[in-house]
């Protein structure tokens, strides 16, 4: 556990100041067709300071963590802030100091020996090799990481947090009858916690691997969707991606200042009244979020941020500086990834809220369209234009599922596409295995129900 060397040095003196010590541990094991390709682990840590000076920020970090380095980073951060203030002379008012968040060190476990990860990955790989001889390739990846942070801020926050997470991924490849290789992957399980919290006996996931294999076999006989605009049902993994990529980024206040489409849409109708969207801090609909965040790296206690209410854009995600600019309440969205990173406005657990429809009714309502079930990645623009890769799906003909789809892409403009939402399923499914990318990576949760809408879909 991190020793507390931070209490004492932080005083505001009229300038918002943060001191943060952090250690990040990680493990990655990768088995490719029986070969242990990656057997890697590491620990990186240090201390950083950030100081606000009349509208300019100074930051400094150091890999060493002792009393001298704490003093040194604080001094350097102040000097960097003063250097910019001297050049720019913005003359902005001090930042508001929020109510302090104080918490002691939580119970934390070591990230565990590498053998546990390797044995599990090799056992899963052996099962797949034995059970599915028709596969042309297979990969099993096991990852674990743990973020431990000790934060002291000039608002009086003194927070010691530990956030571990683990995941197991399986990738399967098979050839079409024309000899083309197709791939499909799934995150078997994982989330906030340690390896034994999820993974004990590989057999508990055999059924899930079997489903993945069957979908891949469907895909090898699949078709390309017809290019153009189509009625689709986005499964939860896609609607969660939509919440994050297509809407979430545009309502991050730093991107609003940078000119995002949300800047002139606050208070306006941007979606069907069926659409509600929230960036949850730690608890959603009475249950813990996949990656709970209780205090951000500016020392602000975390609370939920409602982004879209009944189709109306009602909020942005802020840090202290942008909240002051937009006269909004900061709700703890300023997050830093590594000890050497400054806090940026980031999402936490962003979701489209469930509606009242049943998936089978949604499928039955479409004469000609597609059910899109798996996505690999997504990107969005500050204009709200988005793109998701679609790795798996099925055509819908006369209200019934038909042939599987090959890899394709969907795209649209978020605030136009959301107005076409006509049905929303009554469940909420979370995913949290990926990273959001924005100068720094960041673990985030994304969630949603199935959503019926119109999007542009790529063909061949």
């Amino acid at each position: 556990m991190l020793e507390d060397l931070l209490t004492g040095p932080v005083t505001s003196g009229g300038a918002h100041t943060e001191l943060r010590a952090q250690t990040t541990e990680s493990v990655k094991v990768s088995v490719v067709s029986g070969n242990l390709i990656a057997n890697a682990g590491g620990t990186a840590g240090g201390v950083c300071a950030r100081v606000y000076k009349n509208g300019s920020w100074g930051f400094s970090s150091c890999a060493d963590y002792d009393a001298d380095s704490v003093r040194a980073v604080l001094k350097e951060a102040r000097e960097n802030g003063e250097f910019l203030d001297g050049k720019l002379n913005k003359g902005k008012a001090p930042l508001p100091e929020m109510k302090p968040y104080i918490t002691d060190a939580p119970a934390a476990a070591p990230i565990l020996p590498r053998k546990l990860y390797i044995d599990y990955a090799m056992a899963l790989d052996a099962h797949i090799a034995k059970t599915y001889p028709k596969l042309s390739g297979r990969r099993v990846i096991v990852t674990g990481e743990k973020f431990e942070k000790l934060l002291c801020a000039s608002n009086g926050t003194h927070a010691h947090t530990v956030a571990p997470r683990v995941y197991v991924y399986v990738f399967l490849s098979a050839d079409t009858k024309d000899g083309e290789t197709l791939e499909l992957f799934d995150v078997l399980d994982g989330g906030s916690g340690y390896f034994p919290d999820y993974f004990t006996d590989p057999a508990q996931y055999y059924e899930k691997i079997d489903s993945l294999y069957n979908e891949l076999m469907d895909k090898t006989e699949g078709i390309f969707p017809e290019a153009g605009t189509a009625d689709v049902i986005m499964a939860p993994s896609l609607s969660g991606m939509l919440a994050h990529e297509a809407v979430g980024h545009t309502v991050e206040a730093d991107l609003v200042i940078g000119g995002s489409v949300a800047g002139h849409n606050l208070g306006k109708e941007v979606a069907s009244p069926l659409v509600n969207m929230v960036d949850f801090a730690h608890t959603a609909l009475g249950k813990p979020c996949p990656l709970p965040v209780y205090v951000d790296d500016e020392g602000t206690a975390c609370a939920d941020e409602v982004l879209i209410k009944d189709g109306i854009l009602v909020g942005y995600m802020n840090n202290l500086e942008s909240a002051q600019r937009f006269d909004m309440a900061p709700r703890g969205n300023a997050r830093a990834f590594a000890y050497s990173d400054e806090p940026l406005i980031r999402m936490r657990n962003t979701a489209v809220l469930p509606g009242k429809d049943k998936l089978e009714d949604m499928i039955a309502s479409i004469d000609h369209g597609y059910l899109l079930t798996r996505t690999g990645n997504g990107q969005a623009d500050t204009t709200g234009e988005f793109m998701f890769g679609v790795n798996m799906g099925y055509e819908i003909k006369n209200g019934k599922l038909g042939r599987a789809l090959r890899d394709t892409t969907i795209s649209g403009v978020a605030f136009e596409m959301l107005k076409t939402v006509s049905m929303v399923s009554d469940d909420l499914v979370w995913e949290s295995s990926g990273y959001c990318g924005k100068k720094q990576p960041m673990p985030v949760g994304i969630g949603g129900p199935a959503v019926k809408c119109k999007v542009s879909i790529g063909g061949q």
Binding site: V32, G42, E180, A227, T409, K439
Partner: protein, 431 residues
């Protein structure tokens, strides 16, 4: 401990003491001074000091790795013990190894020390020029830094290399705005070893700012055609990298999913295409000198006149599959120019899309891809007509590389690549 060679020697001793049969390590010290612009305003100055000790041990034919960022003996001893424990937990594999001793080398590359005052002046000059000459542009974010590092690679075969490196990096992300109209963001990154030129004049920066303003008058692309795609230099690098990731990465060659797995020495692309990795090229700013595996870097061709010459594999993947390792691991890509000026290529096109950024999903293993053509323009009757939005493009990377009617005579350099425009045929474009 402060001396990097002393730390590296200690790390090898710790690994050997812990039971390694063979061991290697990289020990590095880095310092970065960074300046950020957010929403058009200079916002943040950062100073970052970091250390790195990454280690690899082989015991009984099994490999383990570990990494820390501390230089004290206790931390190194603990990491070495974890590295050996990881190796023991692994699987014996004849392909794991460490670099053989050839000639040890020391290099000093890139900028020799920072000049932050001059760099600050270049950045404010960039801001002023954008505000004056491109008034509709908002700089959403700029990240600029001077970074220097001192790095030692050492292994138990007696290999000992040292690389000292310094250089400036500048990346801008921007879009154009007029009232409530806004364009897609675009971005451009460049690296350089000196501050002799205004940053705005490096590579494609001016061109992309100019195009961004033109995109305010973009029209939605309607319809569908299968035909030509003219790919800008930056975007060409992205497409070629997607193809290389799919077709010649360690993973795709080891698990045999690459359609090029048996194509060494065979034609995989149009004869006009030559793709090389050239960290030693003077156009590259502070390019790699030592590979990830610990060999002195050399330039090499991946595709020469359309023929696949090298898979670009790590030493492990090379030994695993009976191929040779890549002569460098830099990613410093150069694509040979063609013989047609870009203006003539455009003049000869009846209908095509000029794509300057591609936002797409991970291509399928067989190379099928689809995505959105961002910051892109419609070409008709030999002229660039107007910018387009919501334009999907799809095709197959392997087929696309075999269908290249022209490559431009001009290339663009950004300090880590040298790339021309390239024209591809057989791409599906739909609105």
């Amino acid at each position: 401990m402060k001396d990097l060679k002393e730390i590296a020697s200690y790390t090898l001793e710790a690994l050997t003491r812990a039971g390694a049969d063979q061991a290697q390590c990289t020990v590095a010290r880095g310092r970065t001074k960074e300046l950020n612009i957010d929403g058009g305003e200079i916002s943040l100055m950062r100073t970052l000091l970091d250390n790195q000790v990454s280690m690899k041990a082989i015991k009984d034919g099994k490999k383990g790795t570990a990494a820390i960022n501390k230089f004290d003996k206790a931390a190194i001893d603990q990491a070495a013990a974890e590295c050996i424990e990881a190796a023991q937990a692994g699987v014996a594999d004849d392909a794991v190894t460490i670099a053989a001793l050839t000639t040890n080398a020391e290099f000093k590359v890139g900028a020799d020390g920072e000049d932050m005052d001059a760099f600050y002046d270049r950045i404010t000059e960039f801001l002023d020029t954008v505000n004056k000459e491109y008034p509709k542009i908002i700089l959403e974010q700029v990240i600029s830094d001077y970074s220097e590092s001192d790095s030692v690679f050492m292994n138990t075969n007696g290999v000992c290399h040292r690389v000292q490196r310094g250089g400036y990096y500048f990346e801008s992300m921007f879009s154009a705005h007029e009232g409530e109209r806004a364009t897609s963001f675009n971005s451009y990154g460049s690296q350089f070893s000196d501050l002799s030129r205004p940053i705005i004049d490096v590579g494609m920066q001016r061109k992309l700012l100019e195009q961004s303003q033109q995109e305010l008058n973009a029209k939605k692309f309607e319809g569908k055609f299968t035909g030509k795609l003219l790919v800008s230099p930056g975007c060409l690098g992205d497409f070629i990298n997607m193809a290389l990731d799919n077709f010649i990465s360690d993973t795709s060659i080891i698990d045999g999913t690459s359609p090029w797995k048996n194509a060494l020495g065979e034609k995989v692309a149009d004869g006009k295409l030559t793709v090389s990795m050239v960290p030693l090229d003077p156009r590259m700013s502070g390019g790699e000198r030592i590979t990830d595996d610990g060999y002195v870097s050399e330039n090499y061709d991946i595709i020469k006149d359309g023929v696949l010459r090298d898979f670009g594999l790590s030493e492990y993947a090379a030994r695993k599959t009976g191929n040779k390792r890549a002569p460098n691991t830099s990613g410093c890509m150069a694509i040979a120019p063609g013989d047609t000026p870009i203006a003539e290529i455009i003049k000869g096109l009846d209908r095509a899309i000029l794509v300057c950024r591609f936002s797409g999903g991970q291509p399928a293993v067989n190379g099928d891809f689809s995505g959105v053509a961002k910051n892109s323009f419609l070409i008709e009757n030999g002229e660039i007509k107007h910018a387009v939005t919501e334009t999907m493009i799809s095709g197959n990377l392997a087929a696309m590389l075999n269908n290249i009617p022209a490559i431009s005579k001009e290339t663009v350099e950004d300090g880590s690549s040298s790339l021309p425009y390239a024209l591809f045929d057989g791409i599906t474009v739909s609105g």
